[in-house]
Subunit: 339 residues, 2 copies
């Protein structure tokens, strides 16, 4: 079981998930880069490791009279979860100073493709659409659980970004608290809305679209990808819908198609320009229990892991970025996305 | 030159220091672990690389009639600074959305020892005292500059923690803004003070000292080292003075001695238990321009880099820690600090 603790000084939360330490890859092996052999891959659907996982949701979930279901993506409970849906939600504190919650929540793996060696840069648009639909499905699924305040969908690619298996996969963590990064964003964008009567994301997109392509990476009818003005790390990319929307759970069909196309173009460019770098990918949506918000606009953050966050970043919260977003965007724009 | 930018959504700051990208070690080489050869080390005080650096402050700064000064620590301007003292402080914004400041500030290297191969775990107490006195000296130095709001002293040890040179060294970054991690801490501890009429750090120390050594790592007369209740990563350690003090710039002699002893013990334990791990080290003090505060208590954060912060941490700001601070502290307490 796990536990959620709040730091009395920063008021930020941590999840204490000591059972994950059994995963030897989590610990003391920061330097080693290794591909999971296909024959030992639990996500390829072969071998004993798959058995306990196989019963969970499958997208699109059709069986066609065969022994195994035909699937494009699968949603499996994480074998070493950070949070557990079966744990009753309780909270307590020690002498009014240390607050903690039970480790209630969810932690899932989305197997992004049956093909062991695919990446977002090489997948078909059809496969990327299936992944986007799976993400949307998980928001809807967890919204039904009254204990869950937030769902973070994310993706770690390659060991330098924290991935322990190389088969393409995403992860979903459903938490009983609103994560600090989201609540800070919510506070700030609400302030901006109250002062300016407009969504700050909408205003940013308007500026970036007009801005003679200084930071634009890619766009189509409904999606826009750019390197943010205050990029924390080299080649940071943000993808957002041009039209205001708080969450991606009800994405219209044309936006699913446009997002698939944008992901494909952006990851092809990254792979080509930066030798298929490790990256972290996360989707920021409004908290599950809020009604549709005029001021929160969903977006995707892509953080290539080319540098190491060091003592200054940890200690101060200020990032030192050595590549300007204007230069990064120019190089990405000029990189042909054809493979 | 560099530039300081504020993100319009999170309101957090980044430093854009594109000249640092010339440092090839900063980029695309995340996996490589390498020791700087002694013969090529700019901090050993030999060879042409030392020349432009040699004129800066030296601690204790005595010359004894020889060609080269005898020194225990040296303070040098960083060769690839993130911020520059010679730049006039200006701020501006783009359409009220994007705020930026000139890259005004300071970025220094403290050469922690003349000996190329020493570490905090192997240094003499005398050498550690010299380093602590050098840190205090830099707070006093930068306090005189009216443009500087904060000084962060930090240390990256080994490449996995972001170090690019292996000769023992610390760094100092002086910023014209109060870093977000510090201003958040300030807000929270002020709230706590107003509600409880006491310093939250003092209350934490009281609890940790009473707490049947559950999270204690080491203590002496004036210093206390422990694994924090909400440790973000395995074996995170906090060192704080038992007596309330906002900054370490005027540390009494007995506290300098006790801190040297604590650093020595803590780093000997870490090195022995975890095979001399990479770590980040930073000192949190109250902002330079505030008077002595009843609610802010200086402390040192030590973050061994045994795991990789991945997509969930980046996206949510919540850390998943796989080793409980109670277990980490027990193992560290039971590790003999004798070498």
């Amino acid at each position: 079981m796990s536990e959620i603790r709040r730091d009395p000084i920063s008021k930020s939360w941590i999840i204490l998930a000591t059972e994950r330490a059994k995963r030897s890859s989590d610990f003391m092996e920061i330097q080693r880069e290794e591909k999971t052999a296909k024959s030992k891959c639990p996500f390829c659907g072969k071998g004993e490791m798959t058995e306990p996982l196989d019963s969970f949701a499958v997208w699109p979930g059709e069986r066609v009279g065969e022994e195994k279901p035909i699937w494009k993506t699968r949603v499996l409970p994480n074998k070493f979860p950070a949070l557990y849906p079966s744990v009753e939600l309780v909270q307590d504190s020690e002498k009014g100073l240390y607050h903690f919650l039970s480790g209630t929540g969810g932690h899932e793996v989305i197997v992004d493709s049956p093909a062991h060696d695919e990446t977002f840069a090489t997948m078909s648009l059809d496969q990327l659409r299936a992944i986007i639909n799976t993400y949307a499905h998980r928001y809807k699924f967890w919204k039904l659980d009254p204990r869950i305040a937030y769902v973070l969908v994310f993706r770690n690619y390659k060991r330098a970004a924290g991935a322990s298996l190389s088969h393409p996969h995403s992860q979903v963590i459903a938490t009983p608290i609103i994560p600090p990064r989201i609540s800070e964003e919510m506070d700030q964008v609400k302030d901006y809305y109250e002062q300016n009567d407009s969504c700050v994301f909408c205003d940013i997109l308007k500026l970036e679209m007009e801005d003679k392509a200084k930071r634009k990476v890619f766009e189509n009818d409904t999606m826009f990808a750019f390197c943010p003005f205050a990029s924390r790390i080299p080649f940071e990319i943000c993808i957002a819908p041009k039209e205001h929307e708080g969450s991606m759970k009800n994405l219209p069909k044309n936006q699913v198609q446009d997002l698939a196309e944008t992901l494909s173009a952006v990851f092809k460019k990254l792979a080509k320009l930066l030798n298929d770098p490790a990256y972290n990918f996360s989707i920021h949506v409004a908290p599950l229990k809020t009604p549709d918000l005029v001021y929160y606009h969903w977006h995707i953050e892509i953080l290539p892991r080319l540098t190491i966050a060091a003592g200054f970043e940890w200690g101060s919260g200020i990032y030192i970025n050595v590549v300007s977003p204007e230069k990064a965007a120019k190089e990405l724009r000029e990189t042909d996305e054809a493979f």
